[in-house]
Amino acid sequence: MNLKKYIGAAVFFVLISTVAIVWSAPFLWMITASFRPHTFGGLDMASLWPNFVPTIDNYRMAWESTEFVLYYINTIIIVIGILAVQLVTITLAAYAFARLDFPFRTFLFYLFLLQLMIVPPILIVPNLKTMVTLGLYDTLIGVMAPYFASAFGTFLLRQTFKSIPRDFEDAAVIDGCSWFQVLRYVLIPLAKPALIAFSIVSVVAHWNEYLWPLMVTDSPGKRTLTIGLASFTRGAEGASEWGLIAAGTMLVMLPLMLLFFAFQKQFINSFMFSGIK
């Protein structure tokens, strides 16, 4: 009986580990290939085994062959810009939906939720037109603007605010707090886990975004990391260049990768109650 249990556990252990390794193979390859010497030749390029002296030549060449610094700066500006505005719009809207009483509240709430389905990528054509009209074509603001409101964030925060007992706010009001102080010192601190979860999901989504920035920017100075990587990848032909591409891919992924492995639990939990980006 006991033996059967042990064998079962061992089989499970081996199977699930194998699946996880196969699942991670693309990343294992990326890491190996990015450190492989450039002269190594193409034929064994796919080998996952690091049978060579590692070198950072690929990274150096990748770094020098595109404007990585510029792309990093643009991407960071976009990600932080979107998040900063989102945090304001969703907090205010969520407060209204959770705590205030006004006509058409339910109707408006569903109207907000519509953005969960009609997500910005599907509206690239009309939004591009709007950006041209507003004079925001080929600007970083143009890349950010469609994401300034977030139905998902509003929803998440509304649920959180609703779960906070009103007594806390009433006490604060009796002590003479204004609504802003109530929000600042009572509601926001208590909603911190939800705000962090939303921030992680938002940052990941916009760090990784490609199609919209590609549509709405034109000059090389406004491009983002994903756009740089895509043209970098498409430009490569021979097998020997794959070490370079692996290094480039790694450079684009690295910040999120490091954050993820440092705050695994936080990331996993955030995505667990997120669903929609």
Binding site: I16, F102, V125
Partner: protein
Amino acid sequence: MRDNTTTHGKKRLVKSFFNAEHIKAWLYLSPALLFLLLFTYYPMVQVLWDSFFHRPYGADKELFVGFDNYSRLLNDENFITAVKNNFIYAIGTVIPSIVIGFGFALCLTQSSRFKNCIRSLLFFPTLVPLVAAAALWMFIYFPGIGLLDYYLAKLGIQSTDWLGSPDNALYSLMMLTIWKNAGFYMLFFIAGLQGIGEEYYEAASLEGAGWWQKLRYVTLPLLGPTSAFVFVIALIHVFTHVDHVIVMTLGGPMGSTNLVLYYIYQNAHEFNDLAKATTATVLSVMVLLAISFFSIRTMERGIHYES
């Protein structure tokens, strides 16, 4: 929820728009509403309006053309192919990635250091940009020397033209999508499974239910809301992500990996046929609206459930 409306209903109704609380509410909603209006509601109306106009080549003005754009679109072989491809792509990615995600979740529900580590590895593809995943998978599919052919050759399997053949290319993209999303859906199933009380399984055990019967009669029915929620997100994903098509195949070979959003992008960005891109957008929005109509409650319950 506070509900004063019933207690002093009539009074409030008379004061209606102008009391301080209402003004405050509109004020707080206005920033979010402004951006939703500009970039969600207005474009939805705008594309519908624009889809009835067309500027023929060389003309300097847009002309009202009725449903002309629609018939042009529906007679465009490329569009029809894109719709068909999207349909195959939807069925072939949504169902497998949900089934695999569910399978992963079944194995990894209980937390332990080892299982958490496996979870992270399986989830990780979700975090990387689709463009980066596409770059890695291009090498995986590289004919002859790529990761897949290299290791398949060791098993004695001949090399395959994964991305270059019209018969394989769409399926190759589908494998990438399944790989990237299964770990994401796994998380929702883990959350769902952790929400099922131990007492249900104890009761089933007392009745003499085996592993399969517990899965069939306890787990699956109780996971109904989670599954519906995951299904909707997966479906939306299928219509809104084409980065890998742009990086890996550009819709080819011979249109075999053209998806609707890629078709829209291509007509707007390369072919300068804005009327077609606009009209295809209208149809996509209608499909998404139909999905929303049937699933908004599911979504709401789903998010509820996760939080």
